[in-house]
Amino acid sequence: MRIWITGVGIVSPLGVGARATMRLLCEGQRAFDEVTLFSVEGQRTRIAAEVRDPRFARSDGTAGWSRTGAMALAAAREAIEESGLRSGVDEIDLVVGGTTGPMLETEGFLPNLADGEPLAVDVARMISHPLSMTTDYVRTAVGAMRNVRTISSACSTGANAILLGALWIASGRSKSVLVGAADALCRLTYTGFNALGSLDPAACRPFDRTRAGLSLGEGAAFLVIERDDVAAARGATPIAELAGWSAAAEAHHITNPEPDGSTAARVIKAALQVAGLSGSDLDYVNAHGTATQLNDAMELRALRSVLGNEMDRIAISSSKGQLGHSLGAAGAVEAAVCVLAIAQGVVPPTGGLTDPDAGCEGNHVMGTGRGMPVRAALTNSFGFGGLDSALAFCRPGFAPEKPAPSRRPARLASGAIISAAGQAGLLIAKRHAEPGPSPAEGRIELDPTVSLDPHKSRRLGRAERMLCLAVDSAIVGFENQGALDRANAGLVAGMASGSLDGVSRFLKKARDKGARFAPPADFPNLMLSAAAGHASIYHSLGGPVLSATDAGTSMMSAVWTAIDLVESSMADFVLAAGAAEATEAQFAATRAADPAGVHPLTEGASCVLIAPDASGSGARLLWRTQWHCQADQRTALAELPPPVDGARVVTAGDCTLAGTAWSGVDAVPIELRAGTYEGVDGAALVTAASLVMDGRCPVALAIACLGDRGCALLLGAP
């Protein structure tokens, strides 16, 4: 089996279109200019790389429209059109990544939340806030998609969206996947990187002796990746091949990279290993190359430690010197650049680089592009929290062929829950299926006897604390802790919208006191992927770490993603965890998503540990389905296996099993004991798992129907 790339699409500050962008990159053009999208008063710089095409100028008022969404759609359409895939005819899956999403459109009113005027918030715009809106926009416009996922891992998001698509193909779950990422510039990230002192006042200069920080950019890129036999059968031809992928976490620091670059090196090595390629096969590296002091030195050290003297031969460049750092989109844009470099036999330069720094030595491409054959290319992406990824591409047929798609079964090996009904492992979870008091609205009481290390947890907000506690309980509850190698264990956080309150407070302070008084230590926590990064650092988890974000069913999506990682042998143990904190902003978001909700608004966290099915106790995953609009619910549940005697159902949200064989089975709404909050779908799942693990029932169905989305997992005894 091979994974072909059959379509590429890019929207960049240099141009709309993959080939247009590549041509201007190779001409050496740079896209930096004064910011026009918002005021940059009081910031240390006035520039960024904006996408100036009038099609992305501002909202025309269409529901769900955002600059991010519009750029994503244009890039996705370009990739789909080139691939020749037909929506509604061919089986297409979709993975979209992002970090800012519709922030530019919603950040205007977010400070109002911190002003204490939650009711003044425009509910329609609040609904538009989640990152998954970008995905919805693409899905609705491009046409029918089967499996859909939205992910985030800070500045490695784009690479991880591609990686997840590759796992779906390698595990046989997908035939063709549209994968990519998009991020628009916004005040939040501009002010945040300014507060961290990371912005160069002038246009950035990756690897240069005079480099003084990064320059921000924006954009979108999508690839169509396909199993070779499926693509060949419909007459498609490959542009290049996606040969290798890897992701791991540094578990070091929320903003600073590990100085020795050892995790980056581990990821680069693993991506080449998956590809079956060695350093002597590589002709080009598209580096992460942000132009910060710490990143560039660390990255070159990591590359040299893996590639040795080949580094003097392999051409290297960073596209950020021309396009700026488009954060979540960057990994996808730079992957697309690698694909085009292989297809066109030309590699772009590093804009702004004239005098490579000591410690950054390499075969740098400077000035304009270099025409040269490219057999294989590697691209790195490193995100806040130390979330590192690498992808390897090559000419079609250049890398050794991979085995036929296969996957190993996964099980839910342990779980934990923190809710109004209690806090701890699976014994507590069972309580949710038993009669008991209904919770009071607002904050829950956390067990004072269970606490986190005060120094290590000083940067964690309440939601992140609950998440770390839930992860801890799930690990402690696992029967075979000796086998759980934390250095290779992964984590997927399920987060619907990140810290709305944190964003509101941060933007309010910048608005009221000026940009230079925006609190630097708060900014990294405002990325949706922060909770996953913090938890990986706190618990020393060094496997793949990312976040799944899917509105009301984010925790279920996180569990799915964790299962994807274990099924495809990316990691042996992957935790899926989610948490939400009771605050006015959170309540406003919950009410916006579910205006008819009758359950008390609370808070909570949950975690499950996914392990290979080979041995051990827990709950086996028998069947799963997911839908992204209500119209698809009936189809999604049509193949639900019939219940056996003693089967139980745990629901989150407004679920109906009418029309299925399960319509008569007693269903327990999780909200009766836990109330409702973002992530309550995780509580339903852990409760169902707990009933099975405890021998209370042979099979249990966890089903969540929240807003337009839904998800069902059928669990059975081992």
Binding site: L196, G197, H253, N256, P454, A518, P519, P520, A521, P524
Partner: protein
């Protein structure tokens, strides 16, 4: 505005950096704050610089100069005292 005392600086450190296991009076005037001692890091330094600039309407330089100022509570107190008298 009066120049801050070492105690004022300690209170700001504990509050701004959310040090849950440290009381202001636990911090020694001349003890190192970064790496060893309180084991603060560069992100703490950025947060502390912002908080001090806001509280005392001063400007704290970046880079090597900041490293000297942030050596200890005494050094911070002295720098802010000088800045405020220079500015006033």
């Amino acid at each position: 505005m009066n120049a801050p005392s070492p105690q004022d600086i300690k209170e700001i450190i504990v509050r701004e950096l959310n040090l849950q296991d440290v009381r202001p009076e636990d911090i020694q005037d001349d003890a190192p704050l970064f790496g060893e001692g309180l084991a603060l890091d560069s992100l703490d330094a950025l947060q502390l610089a912002m908080a001090l600039e806001e509280a005392f309407s001063i400007k704290i330089p970046e880079g090597d100069e900041a490293r000297k100022i942030f050596r200890s509570v005494s050094a911070i107190t002295a720098y802010i005292g000088q800045s405020m008298s220079g500015a006033g």
